[in-house]
């Protein structure tokens, strides 16, 4: 099986962001000297994976089993990314399929300038965004999605009782709250706070201004706080 069907270049897929810069010992195929580092919390997103470099090389040479191994190594993260961006299981599965089919077609263009996972996840993000643009629904129009209606927006938090969110937030609750964010907020929040993209990268991906990305991120966090506090109130009333 020949997996190398070049279409889009690696640089086009990864952009010019700061991601994918790793300490010595990573599995990039042509590692360059490190000039910039992401914070540790983002570094852990692309840890070295045993056997990955070999699997990439073999898959590029057309080895089907190695491609399947790459799927096994990355399916969870790609699917989780799709699910968080879309909030819909069926769509997330469809786009996970599409992302790996694109990987199959494009893996020959991967040269190792960035970490493979960084490259793959950017590919997956592009697949999701393309899908959203094609759908033509309100959540697809990024301008509209980035400007949810006022009732979706966060309330000004003046004089409201502190619910002591700090220290008591569990990740299941956060996952659920992210699912309930308006689509435009969710996109920016997932891309920035969960996936670690910079605002300039997000602005490029979503065709919006950097200021818009920053503003939407803040609104998303405010909305999340609102959702989490509401959840806490409900739990307290049940208990």
């Amino acid at each position: 099986m020949n997996l190398a069907i070049p279409t889009k270049s690696e640089k086009e897929l990864t952009g010019r962001g700061k991601r994918g810069i790793f300490k010595t010992g990573d599995l990039r195929m042509n590692a360059r000297p490190m000039q910039e580092q992401k914070p540790i919390q983002h570094m852990r997103r692309n840890p070295p994976i045993a056997g990955e470099a070999e699997a990439i090389a073999k898959a590029q040479a057309g080895d089907a089993q190695s491609f399947e191994m790459l799927y096994s190594l990355h399916k969870r993260r790609v699917y989780s990314l799709c699910l968080r961006m879309l909030g819909n299981v069926a769509e997330a599965e469809d786009l996970t399929q599409e992302a790996f089919l694109q990987l199959y077609r494009k893996i020959g263009t991967f040269r190792g300038d960035s970490a493979f996972s960084t490259w793959l996840h950017r590919l997956a993000v592009n697949v999701v965004l393309m899908h959203l643009r094609k759908k033509g629904l309100p959540q697809v129009s990024l301008e509209e999605a980035l400007e949810p209606s006022q009732e979706d927006g966060p309330r000004k938090d003046i004089g409201e009782r502190d619910l002591m969110l700090h220290g008591s937030l569990d990740r299941v609750a956060l996952e659920r709250a992210v699912e309930n964010l308006p689509p435009g907020y969710r996109l920016v929040f997932v891309l920035h706070d969960v996936e670690g993209y910079e605002h300039n990268e997000i602005a490029d991906m979503l065709s919006c201004s950097i200021g818009n990305s920053k503003s939407q991120l803040h609104k998303a966090r405010m909305k999340l706080r609102d959702l989490l506090r509401t959840g806490q109130r409900k739990e307290e009333s049940i208990a």
């Binding site: 997330a92 992210v178 966090r221």
Partner: protein, 96 residues
């Protein structure tokens, strides 16, 4: 000291004015919890703590969801179909 200077440094800001500036403060990388207004306002201090905590927890969200097995089945089948259409022979010893 002028009103403008006080506002810039966070002094004499009310909660609404401070929260209006919050996105800019977070993005500037400033230590928001040490802002003048925050030090004197428990409500906004709580807000800042919560927003910082949400951002920190988001970075720790792990990929916990697995796709169903049918996803790989579909991918495998689609790849096989593409190969059949392109009439590219399998490399794994099936050539005669």
């Amino acid at each position: 000291m002028s009103d403008a200077h006080n506002k810039l440094s966070g002094k004499s800001m009310n909660c609404a004015e401070f929260q209006e500036r919050l996105p800019e403060l977070f993005e500037s990388g400033a230590n928001v919890s040490q802002e003048e207004h925050v030090l004197g306002c428990e409500n906004c201090a709580s807000l800042v703590r919560d927003l910082e905590y949400i951002a920190a927890q988001a970075k720790l969200l792990l990929p916990i969801h697995d796709p169903s097995p049918k996803v790989w089945n579909y991918i495998e089948s689609a790849i096989q179909n593409e190969h059949a259409e392109q009439k590219i022979p399998e490399h794994s010893g099936k050539r005669s």
